[in-house]
């Protein structure tokens, strides 16, 4: 099924966000953010540093409590959930890929243990099966099976990031949040990671909200774009449309790379 067909086939968005607002004292984090995310859709959030991208993502993922607004996941009111339920979503249906793999991995635990953790968290109790799944997922993100007992501290930055992705996807989440997943990597390593991510998103039918300041990343991955400035969404639309024919003057600056982002 193409994305359009999927979107037509489902009658409600996977994530429905309305008027999401979060301030830090008098300072705006993000304000009045409204959007729908459909199953299988990749939404890119771009904007210069300090524009509120990470604040928005943290609110969506339940790491920060917004001051105003609502979030519905698959019809369920996320902000009305108890913490147990929300954290349970966080390790089953949802995944979060941090910019810095050190924040998303346990550096003192083997690669296999890192990938297996979410399985064990939801009750897997067969060592051989957990290990088998860990190896299969490492293979899928192009890490050799004989590294399964090595700690991530012995891995390169690109490998660490791929391991973090495997660790997140092992429980087959439906919704993945990513904050600058390619930041801090060499250009050639970035390209390989992007290629891998594109394959996974397509094969697994993942819905993704990805934050980046790199327009090349969203051009490759995102179906739709939101452009943020000073906490507000100033423009949103299909990726190619926004990038090729930006309407807001800020987006025009962003696209013409006049802004150092």
């Amino acid at each position: 099924m193409t994305l359009m067909e999927t979107m037509v086939a489902t009658d409600r968005p996977l994530l429905k966000v309305e008027g999401l607002t979060k301030g830090y004292g008098p300072r705006i984090g993000c304000a009045g953010v409204t959007f729908d995310l459909w199953p299988g859709e990749v939404l890119g959030i771009v904007g210069e540093s300090g524009s509120g991208k990470s604040t928005l993502l943290s609110c969506l993922a339940g790491h920060l409590r917004p001051d105003l607004g609502s979030i519905h996941y698959d019809g369920r009111d996320v902000l009305a959930m108890g913490e147990t339920e929300r954290r349970c979503l966080g390790r089953t249906d949802w995944a979060y890929v941090h910019q810095n793999p050190r924040d998303g991995l346990r550096m003192g635990v083997s690669a296999g243990g890192n990938v297996g953790e979410r399985l064990m968290a939801i009750g897997a109790r067969h060592y051989g099966e957990i290990r088998g799944k860990a190896v299969a997922w490492m293979d899928r993100v192009e890490i050799a099976a004989d590294r399964v007992d090595d700690r991530p501290s012995a891995f390169s930055g690109g490998m660490q990031q791929r391991l973090q992705i495997a660790r997140n996807l092992v429980t087959s989440p439906r919704l993945v949040f990513m904050d600058e997943p390619t930041g801090g990597l060499d250009v050639s390593v970035q390209a390989r990671l992007l290629d891998l991510m594109r394959g996974l998103v397509r094969d697994l039918g993942l819905s993704v909200v990805i934050v980046t300041h790199d327009l090349a990343v969203v051009r490759l991955l995102a179906h739709r774009l939101m452009v943020m400035k000073s906490g507000h969404v100033v423009e949103q639309g299909l990726t190619d449309q926004v990038l090729d024919d930006p309407q807001h003057s800020y987006t025009q600056l962003l696209v013409s790379s006049v802004l150092q982002v």
């Binding site: 346990r106 243990g113 953790e117 968290a121 109790r125 067969h126 060592y127 051989g128």
Partner: protein, 293 residues
């Protein structure tokens, strides 16, 4: 004889009431770590000040107290704690597990099965079973609250990945009544099955960390494991060289500097009881030692 300079069992009544409240809460919520305001005791941390405070709060003049350290009644630590309560509470003391009403222990559960009405008090250095994996106290509390115990299995997974088997042999974590994961203190995992369904009241006191927790009588405590790597209550594959016991936990003792060694029961009361009843081990020669006054 009680030393009149002290209140009964050293602690003042108000402190004992506070500790008893923590104990009762612990009994009401098996395996849950209850914070308490640990007091300075006239002995250093690491000498079981948590256990001593719990014992002090439980003792009544009619009690008969036994104190063991690694299974033995005669180590410095056990002797000094026993003397402390003889002096401050004037209670009777005993080395016989069956005769004791309250047993304070470090690192062992007696071999002789405990019975209804007995209290076993454990000295606990680190009460938090998740500490090794998650150093943040706020986070471990949250994990207990939300029953997020996946990390415990990550630790066991790492054990198997590194050593081919679960190498954790002391302080082996248990799940209590299907709810809280609990550190049984550094007892050998051989003792873990005795935690579960025990007719005695089991109380755990951590002085430095200011925590008390409990297993009421007949509480289930299941050792964590994997389906394909089941928990095993292992011990050295020998019989006791003194009393011949097959199923008691053994200490290895070096007997000379030519590699000579022997295995003896770590529970000295159990071993002596068996010998008194005529049981003999490989190296038991009663006359010379027994004849001495």
């Amino acid at each position: 004889m009680t030393d009149q300079a002290y209140n009964f069992a050293y602690l003042d009544e108000q402190t004992k009431r506070m500790i008893r409240r923590a104990i009762l809460k612990g009994i009401a919520v098996p395996g849950y770590q209850v914070p308490f305001a640990s007091r300075e005791m006239p002995m250093p941390y690491g000498w079981g000040t948590g256990g001593v405070q719990v014992t002090a709060a439980c003792l009544v003049p009619e009690d008969r107290l036994k104190v063991i350290d690694q299974g033995a009644d005669d180590t410095t630590n056990a002797v000094s704690i026993r003397k402390f309560f003889q002096r401050t509470a004037g209670v009777e003391v005993t080395e016989a597990t069956a005769a004791a009403t309250l047993i304070q222990t470090r690192h062992r559960i007696p071999e002789t099965p405990l019975t209804r009405g007995q209290i076993l008090v454990y000295q606990v250095p680190i009460p938090e079973p998740l500490r090794f994996l998650e150093p943040r106290e706020t986070e471990t509390r949250k994990m207990h609250e939300l029953e997020e115990y996946g990390l415990m299995h990550v630790k066991l997974y790492e054990d198997i990945a590194r050593h081919g088997q679960i190498a954790t042999s002391y302080d082996y974590p248990v799940k209590v009544e299907g709810r809280y994961v609990m550190a049984p203190s550094p007892i050998p995992k051989f003792d873990n099955p005795k935690l579960s369904g025990n007719p005695a009241i089991q109380l755990f006191g951590a002085g430095r960390e200011q925590r008390i927790y409990a297993l009421p009588p007949y509480t289930s405590a299941v050792s964590l494991d994997f389906d394909d790597h089941p928990f095993q209550a292992s011990k050295a594959p020998h019989h006791c060289d003194l009393c011949g016991a097959k199923n008691s936990y053994l200490d290895e003792v070096i007997t000379d500097d030519h590699g000579g060694r022997m295995f003896v029961c770590s529970d000295t009361d159990y071993c002596a009881g068996r010998r008194a009843a005529g049981q003999k081990g490989r190296l038991w020669s009663p006359e010379p030692q027994e004849a001495a006054p």
